[in-house]
Symmetry: D3
Subunit: 138 residues, 6 copies
């Protein structure tokens, strides 16, 4: 019996979208007001989905307390109330678009999960915009 | 033309997570406060999704009134305002985790749907925790 | 400058609605399926609203961390994953309707807030049913 | 790196479900109150999901402003505050069920997107009923 | 002990905003695309709030089943899947703006409630637009 | 006939909570992680509520297009994708707590509305925290 279990979480962060090697003009053209040099921010809503076999003893795919703790330690503590560009090392040379944030979250959590479990990340940047990433298998 | 149609429903129920053959200590260690012997409860939010061909005459995959009635008779009437452990026969020897409840709902509805229609169950136990089950094909 | 600040929280609990001194028949007539002797349950969504002057130094009516902690210690820890009838002393002789739960929450929090702050409790028993209580001044 | 990005939109419209060549009696039997000759209506909530490679320069699968504009011009301007049966040419001979509306939206947007991007449409007709369509590949 | 209890409901309807005695030009100027002669429509979300004393025997302000039935019989059955302009007598000479619909709902329910209970109607025409009406006392 | 009409809007912004004249230590003690010198951010959800008489000719308290435009020009264009501390003059010497932002929005909109209309601002800083301000009359 293979199921997917999902857990919601969230973090609030500032960011700016721009390429260092581009002119301000080109950055404005591509990223518009997301290129504000003083930053803007979002309440990011996160859904972490894990697919695996149900443990016949517990009836769990994964204990939700364990999953919630993994998300807290590796994602919320690292991203919440942070400036993604300045405070989070993964975005030193990576533009913090929603796409890239989802990939970074995927890779941070992937290493803490058994190989047999599939992982999918859904990240809402605003209530109207969200992205989904599920690694290679996607 | 193959589409998926989804219908939301809900039921309120009490449950307790524990294995009869385990000690209270072991049950507390695995299930934490979900092992309260006096039970706790949830507003379960259910999404039933059916994938099939669009009927060229009606423009429907399935008549939503028929689907809503199936859910009412087989799920809501059976689970709503019930104690899952004590009142629902399917959980007599099956721990009522969200995973198991989703599997039971899948199997109860599966028998009432044509073979050619695929079925997927999404069950929210809380606004932050949910599971998805789609049977063998998953 | 007088404002209202609100904080959401939630707890999951089992309950049963019935009057001990009434017959089962009369209880069924008045409380319907809410009188299931084996209990049923809900995800209660809570909004605690506090009205007061904005502190000119901090720009806060009340520090949200302090309010969140008050709610956690006095409400969530007391009600979450509990059977309201059996585990919560306030409901030993009080039927745990949404109305009564809101009044109990109000009285538990009221004693921990300065007199000058007004308090209002909104409690969702289901996504479709909720109650609001604001004490005497209402 | 292949991801899915999704954008929400909405439009309000009137419609009626019926087959011209059927009797009023048969239409009532199949479509029930959706066959009201004076029409009824909905707030349609739309999710457009696009799957593709992340552009290594911008970190975007697709610029959300471009996607939002495509949706505005081809869907919202065409459907919003319209009578789907009378004002929208695609439904002249096609019953405007949620299934058919999703297919029409898919086909209208598909022609404006690069071949390499996959497209999926989710359409909520009411908060409880929704459909998903992803073209041939589904 | 005085509390407010609220119950959500919904109905789907078509409508058109225009004054019969005005020219098409003036109606377009005032009502814009809401003046589509072929109608458009909405999923109206309704919250009915009743304020009163808690009954010391039941712990209820009003039995939610009774309130839900009142809403079903007098509002949902009268408005759901209807064209407000053509099918609902109250709007024969009254423009069905959200404001007017809320007032009509208030007046229809007011007559079925005890004098001692205060009534408030909240009506969402879209997820972004809503109105609140509470009669004279407001 | 006096009603309240409400319109939702939103903006994304960065901010930092701190008092210039306080030490970093004292700012951390009072504002915690909200005092990150590199800023963090939010998706602010705004509800603007206006209470007034219904115009007997239009059936409107206020034309929602006019209200939506007022919010766009005076609030969204001024705050969206901005750093509240650095880019918005009103917060040059005012800590941008949710309370203060609500008061600033109130005062910016108040001057553009007729005296006879009452105004109330509800501002969600996160899905769990929100504030309400209605000026002097509150």
């Amino acid at each position: 019996m293979r199921l997917t279990v999902s857990r919601k979480a969230h973090f609030n962060a500032a960011h700016r979208l721009y390429r260092k090697e581009w002119s301000m003009e080109k950055n404005n053209q591509v990223f518009g007001k997301c290129n504000n040099p003083n930053f803007h921010g979002h309440n990011y809503e996160l859904i972490v989905s894990i697919t695996g076999q149900v443990d016949p003893e517990t009836g769990y795919v994964i204990d939700m307390k364990i999953l919630a703790d993994l998300i807290k330690v590796h994602i919320e503590d690292a991203f919440d109330h942070k400036n993604l560009n300045l405070d989070v090392p993964e975005f030193k040379d990576l533009i913090p678009t929603a796409e890239h944030i989802a990939v970074v979250i995927y890779e941070k959590l992937r290493t803490h999960l058994p190989e047999a479990m599939a992982l999918q990340i859904t990240l809402y940047e605003t209530p109207k915009n969200f992205v989904t990433y599920a690694g290679d298998k996607y």
